[in-house]
């Protein structure tokens, strides 16, 4: 065995890696924010007493959960193109990732909503709160608190999965790596470096969610029972 690693040629290209990493974070950020929004609305929709709304949300969730991310990305990419709409690879990647994570978030949030005891809702109804008020004050925030660890994992997973968007040449971290390794013929070193970079991105995201949790759930902070 003759392992001969040379990182110098790769490390000197750090600015392109940094750009790629920032783009990955940007993709993850957009998809997380929009996906959380879709997830909350989707979960409300899935629990709707209106059968059509519940059905539509159900079809959305199941069709996303049962198809590969890469195929979804291609569907958005070629779908928009065949409709004559031109978008940058970044926009298409952000849209596809949002649609994808929105479906998973819908399921997680639905579990959270379902975990709110009936008595909580009755108490709020007894106090004459309206349905939107009940959803906002009594259901949504405690539900998010309960599923927060699952949501965090899902969004970190999304960031890692965004590497697949290199297939439509979104210039994120993995796409940069593909380019660098074909230029330097130092494939192994490149991907070692990229793997380490992804670990750091994950840690950054987890730290971010931890801080956000402190802001969103003051009770946890006060009682010293962090998530």
């Amino acid at each position: 065995m003759n392992l001969n690693l040379d990182f110098a040629a790769i490390l000197e290209r750090w600015p392109v890696f940094l750009d790629g990493a920032l783009l990955t974070l940007e993709l993850a950020f957009i998809a997380t924010v929009l996906g959380a929004l879709i997830g909350a609305l989707g979960a409300i929709g899935r629990r709707s007493s209106h059968p059509l709304i519940a059905r539509i949300c159900g079809i959305y969730v199941e069709s996303i959960r049962n198809t590969p991310l890469l195929v979804q990305i291609f569907l958005v990419y070629f779908g928009l193109a065949s409709l004559g709409m031109k978008f940058s690879a970044f926009t298409v990647a952000a849209a596809a990732l949002t649609i994808n994570v929105g479906a998973y978030t819908t399921e997680i949030m639905r579990a959270g909503f379902d975990s709110i005891p009936r008595g909580q809702i009755e108490a709020a109804e007894g106090l004459a709160l309206s349905r939107p008020q009940i959803y906002w004050h009594v259901v949504l925030w405690p539900a998010i608190e309960k599923v927060y660890p699952a949501l965090t994992s899902q969004f970190v997973l999304l960031m890692l999965a965004s590497s697949v968007t290199s297939q439509i040449s979104a210039e994120e971290l993995t796409a940069v790596a593909n380019y660098v390794q074909s230029d330097t013929y130092r494939a192994f070193e490149t991907y070692i470096l990229v793997a380490i970079a992804y670990v750091f991105l994950s840690l950054i995201m987890r730290a971010g969610f931890w801080l956000l949790g402190l802001v969103l759930f003051p009770r946890r902070r006060r009682l010293g029972t962090p998530l």
Partner: protein
């Protein structure tokens, strides 16, 4: 908006007339009649499954009825056009399981409904929160979370939360059933003070001694009907063998 929210003082605050209710094939209420006057305390007693909790929940329309009529503070509860939220502003309800909102402090629990339903200003609502907490003896728990309180304290906080909406009638659904005797005592004291202040109350209870001490009238429910109704004296000298048997085991 509310047309007849202030009925004349001589009309009952709550009235049930020939109320029927089934859950699928199970008949739960089989022609229930009773009335509650202003300032009166009515205790509903009876075996598990006798329909007493269901009757109470129908008053606040947590259950819909099949036939009959329920009028509460001028609201026709069984009317499909009922303004449900107006009814529930007039009626306060306290449950066996407290149901405080766990993620909110006691103060936040109390001011939530006044601020979002009645649009009371935050400062005013907080002032009021202090008042109602003083009423239940918890003025020092303002900034605690529910899980930091004992069961009895949580139930008193739940009562305070209801009081902050200034209801015209309070419903208590077995509010001490989850508490040990000592904690039960502190909750009952709070309810007693409310009664002394003239609050109209309907309470489903298993505390016979308490019902005897506080209730102006007692309803004994049996098989979905009002089997016996009268002053608290019926608990010591029941007219029907069913009530005699019930208090015989219940006291």
């Amino acid at each position: 908006m509310r047309k007849i929210s202030n009925p004349p003082t001589n009309s009952p605050v709550v009235s049930l007339k020939d109320v029927h209710k089934s859950f699928d094939k199970l008949k739960v209420l089989d022609g229930v009649d009773f009335e509650v006057d202003r300032g009166e305390v009515l205790a509903i007693i009876g075996r598990s499954g006798s329909g007493k909790s269901t009757a109470l929940r129908c008053i606040d329309r947590f259950e819909t009825i099949d036939s009959g009529e329920i009028v509460v503070c001028g609201h026709r509860v069984n009317d499909p056009k009922l303004n449900l939220r107006a009814l529930r502003q007039d009626v306060g309800i306290v449950f066996q399981s407290y149901n405080l909102f766990p993620h909110l402090t006691i103060e936040e629990n109390i001011i939530l409904a006044p601020c979002s339903v009645k649009r009371v200003g935050k400062a005013q609502a907080k002032e009021q929160a202090q008042q109602v907490l003083a009423q239940v003896g918890l003025e020092d728990k303002l900034h605690q979370y529910p899980e930091q309180l004992s069961g009895g304290q949580q139930q008193r906080a739940a009562i305070a939360r209801s009081l902050a909406m200034q209801p015209k009638v309070m419903l208590f659904d077995e509010v001490t059933s989850a508490l040990d005797p000592e904690l039960t005592g502190e909750v009952l004291k709070v309810i007693e003070a409310l009664a002394a202040n003239g609050m109209t109350m309907v309470m489903v209870t298993h505390e016979m001694g308490f019902a005897r001490g506080i209730a102006d009238r007692v309803v004994f429910m049996h098989r979905g009907r009002v089997h016996e109704i009268g002053s608290a004296a019926i608990l010591t000298s029941p007219a029907t063998p069913e009530l005699a048997q019930f208090v015989g085991t219940g006291l």
